[in-house]
């Protein structure tokens, strides 16, 4: 083995840039609220700093642990995730916040198993798809098991309920299966089959129905179900081209619920405008590009699948979050990776980045690439 290649500094600094920016935005968005509610304007900023510290540790862990060793961990990790997702549903273990039990109390901070589930799901899929590479096109081997495992996770997530994570996992599943080469017909049929299920889920839950209605016409019931999204739109739109200036946003003054968590991008839009929002998208774009590059150059199929899955996770979640904030998607309850306030999300996403860095550093030996006609990027 030759000397290990250096870390992908573009990816690393892209992510660190997002994390640092997130700290500033969390402080900006939460200071007034924290000051009024907790008497300490720095409360959330300080906790987010702790999250960043833990996240950096997770990143280091992912990098040092190495993705190769993870091949053996795919199923145990999946089991652990399932256990945690079950635990969170048990009253006493799980903490109910706002009608859903998503958190496990872990002394210093609350942990959200759903965040871990995303990473674990990707690891599991990468493992499984690598193992079944030859029979991937076979229905019973390459398709059905993944569907069943995903179904279990989705059911557990919907019991919380956490529709956002469930939707994210579903999309990831489809992406990975598609890339791995599952027959398109299976994907298409299952997608068609999923539609009535999704419909039943939405119409079967009053709160999801209202969210959907609010999404379809947020201004119709601006002060009730449409409140959060219309506030978000007003906040985002108020920024204009250049924004009102960092820290000058007005919607964090109790108008916009979850201004420092799920809707922090709304604050970015208000304070930094079109320029700032687009720049943030560009930085995510860079992160995704470096992740896809790692998948492209990965020395083995597992590395490719894992890198692609983790990158898709980061990219999808960023897209969905921004889509929700700007009213393109119904409200989900997904964080903006690296930027939103939240420990679980930060730790899991940073772990993913650590793994990506490792994959990217483990590029195939020069010769292995020679045969590939496509050289990209």
């Amino acid at each position: 083995m030759t000397e290990r290649p250096a870390m992908d500094s573009v990816l690393l600094f892209g992510v660190l840039g997002l994390v640092g920016f997130g700290l500033v935005m969390v402080y900006s968005a939460s200071a007034v609220y924290a000051g009024a509610e907790l008497g300490d304007p720095l409360f959330y900023a300080r906790r987010q700093l702790l999250h960043v510290g833990l996240g950096l540790a997770a990143l280091w862990l992912g990098w040092r642990f190495g993705y190769r060793r993870l091949v053996r961990w795919g199923y145990p990790l999946l089991m652990l995730t399932v256990l945690l997702l079950v635990a969170v549903l048990i009253p006493g273990l799980g903490t109910r916040v706002g009608g859903s039990s998503r958190w496990l109390r872990l002394g210093l901070m609350n942990f959200q198993p759903a965040e871990l589930a995303k990473v674990a799901f990707v690891v599991y899929l990468a493992c499984s798809l690598t193992r079944k590479k030859e029979q991937i096109q076979a229905f019973s081997v390459g398709f059905l098991p993944h569907m069943l495992v995903s179904g279990l996770l989705l059911v557990l997530l919907l019991l919380q309920p956490d529709f956002g994570t469930a939707a994210t996992l579903t999309i990831l599943l489809f992406f990975l299966l598609f890339v791995a080469g599952t027959r398109l017909s299976y994907l298409a049929v299952s997608a068609l089959a999923a539609l009535p299920m999704a419909y039943m889920l939405v119409t079967g839950s009053d709160y999801r129905m209202r969210r959907l209605l609010a999404f379809m016409d947020p201004w119709a019931d601006r002060y009730n179900v449409g409140y959060q999204i219309t506030e978000s739109l007003m906040s985002f739109g108020s920024g204009g081209v250049a924004g009102v200036g960092l820290g000058e946003g007005k919607h964090k003054l109790f108008f916009l619920p979850a201004a420092h968590t799920d809707f922090i991008f709304s604050q970015v839009g208000e304070e930094l405008g079109f320029v700032g929002a687009t720049a943030l998208v560009a930085v995510f774009g860079v992160v995704v590009w470096r992740g896809v590059r790692a998948a492209w150059r990965a020395p083995d199929l597992f590395g490719t699948y894992l890198a692609f899955g983790l990158t898709a996770l980061i990219g999808m979640q960023a897209l969905v979050n921004m889509g929700v904030v700007t009213g393109l998607l119904p409200t989900k309850g997904l964080t903006l990776p690296f930027v939103s306030y939240g420990g679980s999300s930060m730790i899991c996403m940073m772990l993913a980045v650590g793994l990506l860095l490792d994959i990217s550093a483990s590029t195939a030996p020069e010769g292995a690439e020679a045969g590939a006609k496509v050289t990209w990027p």
Partner: protein, 677 residues
């Protein structure tokens, strides 16, 4: 290792997914553009609607002061209680507690609050003590806010001039006419509001400048006003008249020193006063002047060089027949051949008619028009009438004769006073001034009103000659001997007019008695008009109005430091002591209960405000629910009842202000202290 072909296809599929993400990203950025560029203004407007609260900073209304700075209208901060019904938890309980504390009807209050969702006033402009009691209840949804309240410390004094303001708007008098200036500019502050409705801070800078509107300094002198009103009231009461008006002018500047109407009203309680009392009758109501007009007809003839002063006219024993009409002298005069002076002194209608007939329609009209008849004077008071002086083309022969002695023409008391002023000052008609200065909050002069000579209407020699003839009126043998003053030559003219009968036409048996004059005749300091409407005891101006004139003139001269030229005259003071204000009891503390302060709020003892300025003491006392009457200007010299006296609700105090030595400046001992003895 997977084979190459598979690898390649996988990479193609991977690129497809990346491409999808890229498309989604492009869509997202397009969405940013839509929200932040295309719809930005709309969304920003919606956003600002909710977090920017426009706070109207209503400045404190500017004060109205007399010429020496004594307050006629001031604003003091008071507390007002309002309720935000949606914050109220226990409506009946809240209503009951509020009603008890504020002395309101609990049921009515509950009904009122139940019907409202938004901000609702409960009780406004209450004493601070009462507001504190409400605050102490600690009821959710019940709030207090500072609001300024208009206060008229001089009460009835000059009320018809000052008028009054209600709910921050001028409604009558100068308060109405100068509403814009007094109110000041309302500053629309952009207050930042959070979702909980807290106003975080006001972004506007102007809070400072908007704190108070501009103030008016009037030409009125509160001391003379007080004297004039007292004498007018006395004259009206003694003659059992319906009403009366009086004007005191400074003839060389046109400044109105006093303008009184009786009956008056207390602007602090204007809501309880019948509307017709608000009228400033001295400028809004037209009267036929009668004989006082003879002065101006004569002036017209002099100015037109239509007569020589040593001429005589045949007064035909007091009757002159023109066509089917016969003009009579009143009072049974049997003048035969009379000098011009006799015609004026004895007020011969026949003599005056002959002069008028000689002068002719056009020239008489020109003369009267020059003296301002038939036109508004342009004084800065609302609702002024120009009254009636018809065009000469429509005058009949007898009409011409009648007008020359004051019938068939009408004028407001102020028009008459202004015309009199022109004779007194040597022949220049001046627009009467009521506002002297407009001053910005910290004393910066915004506008000063200068005497406004409309031009000479009478040659000075004629004015002098006319003044000399008018002196005869108050000398033995004249019609206005009761207007005479010891030690001064008083130029005057009586007037006794029949009131036209508006319904039946012609003239009724009601009279308007008036006296106008100026002193000292050779160098007039004041020109005074007293008009008594429908006196019962006697119809004659010389009887009813002249004594009031004399007392006002005497007091005014002493006050202005004008002493008799002849050393022989004993002492000006006795006359002053006769000034009724002094021995009459507390003028400003009379009858009508004002805003009955609830018992308890005024509990305690009378605070000591001696040495404080009018405003400071007003603020301190009204905050305790004590009603204040101010007299004079400067600092509080004395208070009645004395400090420390136990307060009995409704509590009232009368403050006597003096311009002490420490106050300094301004004319030295210009303001006598005799009133305060």
């Amino acid at each position: 290792m997977p084979d190459r072909r598979q690898m390649r296809w996988m990479r193609v599929r991977l690129l497809v997914v990346v491409g999808l993400l890229g498309l989604a990203t492009a869509g997202l950025v397009w969405r940013f553009w839509t929200l932040q560029v295309s719809q930005a203004d709309w969304l920003r407007g919606l956003a600002q609607d909710q977090y920017l609260k426009e706070i109207t900073l209503e400045p404190m209304r500017g004060p109205i002061l007399d010429r020496h700075g004594a307050p006629l209208a001031v604003s003091v901060m008071t507390e007002s209680i309002f309720v935000m019904p949606q914050e109220v938890q226990d409506l009946p309980g809240t209503a009951a507690a509020l009603a008890k504390t504020l002395g309101l009807d609990a049921r009515a209050l509950e009904r009122k609050l139940a019907g409202r969702r938004q901000f609702t006033w409960v009780k406004r402009r209450i004493p601070a003590a009462e507001a504190e009691a409400v605050q102490a209840l600690g009821l959710p949804g019940v709030h207090a806010t500072a609001e300024s309240r208009r206060y008229y410390p001089a009460r009835e004094l000059a009320a018809s001039v000052v008028g009054f303001a209600g709910d921050g708007r001028g409604l009558e008098g100068l308060e109405l006419l100068f509403d814009g200036q007094l109110r000041g500019s309302t500053v629309l502050a952009q207050g930042l509001r959070d979702a909980r409705g807290n106003v975080l801070f006001a972004e506007a800078a102007g809070a400072d400048t908007a704190s108070e509107g501009t103030g008016l300094t009037l030409t009125l002198d509160l001391t003379l006003q007080e004297l004039t009103e007292a004498e007018l009231e006395r004259a009206v009461r003694e003659s059992e008249a319906r009403a009366g008006s009086a004007v005191v002018l400074e003839p060389h500047s046109g400044e109105i020193l006093a303008l009184a109407n009786w009956p008056g009203f207390n602007p602090n309680t204007f809501a309880k006063v019948p509307r017709e009392r608000f009228r400033n009758r001295a400028v809004t109501d037209c009267f036929e002047p009668g004989s006082t007009l003879k002065v101006f007809s004569l002036a017209a003839a002099m100015q037109a060089n239509a007569l020589r002063l040593d001429e005589t006219f045949d007064c035909q024993g007091g009757a002159l027949t023109i066509g089917r009409h016969t003009i009579h002298d009143s009072g049974g005069h049997r003048l035969r051949v009379a000098s011009v002076r006799d015609i004026l002194v004895q007020s011969s209608n026949v003599g005056m008619a002959r002069i008028g007939l000689r002068l002719g329609r056009e020239r008489l009209w020109q003369g009267l028009d020059a003296f301002g008849f038939g036109r508004r004077t342009g004084v800065d008071l609302p609702g002024e009438s120009g009254c009636r002086l018809r065009r000469p083309g429509s005058w009949s022969e007898v009409g011409l004769a009648n007008i020359s002695f004051g019938q068939g023409v009408s004028a407001t008391p102020l028009q008459l006073a202004a015309a009199l002023g022109a004779v007194a000052n040597g022949g220049v008609w001046l627009r009467p001034l009521i506002v002297k200065e407009i001053r910005a909050p910290r004393g910066r002069l915004v506008q000063a009103f200068q005497p406004d000579p409309a031009g000479r209407v009478l040659e000075e020699r004629w004015a002098r000659a006319l003044a000399n003839m008018m002196v005869g009126v108050t000398e033995p043998g004249g019609t206005g001997t009761r207007a005479a003053l010891a030690g001064f030559r008083v130029a005057g003219k009586t007037g006794t007019a029949q009131k036209p009968d508006a319904i039946a036409g012609g003239y009724s048996d009601k009279r308007v008695a008036s006296f106008m004059g100026f002193v000292p005749a050779e160098a007039p300091r004041v020109a005074i008009l007293v008009l008594i409407d429908e006196p019962q005891t006697s119809p004659y101006g010389g009887v009813v109005a002249a004594p009031a004139f004399a007392r006002i003139a005497e007091g005014a001269l002493a006050y202005l430091g004008v002493f008799p030229a002849q050393a022989a005259v004993a002492d000006a003071r006795p006359a002053l002591q006769a000034s009724p204000r002094q021995d009459e009891e507390a003028v400003a503390l009379d009858e009508e209960p004002v805003e009955a302060a609830p018992v308890g709020s005024a509990a305690g003892r009378m605070p000591d405000v001696r040495g404080l300025s009018a405003r400071e003491s007003l603020q301190r006392l009204s905050a305790r629910g004590i009603e204040v009457a101010l007299l004079g200007s400067g600092r509080v010299a004395r208070q009645e009842p004395a400090p420390g006296t136990p307060l009995v609700a409704p509590a009232r105090v009368r403050l006597l202000l003096e311009r002490g030595a420490d106050a300094g400046g301004e004319g030295g001992g210009g303001r006598p202290t005799w009133r305060l003895k």
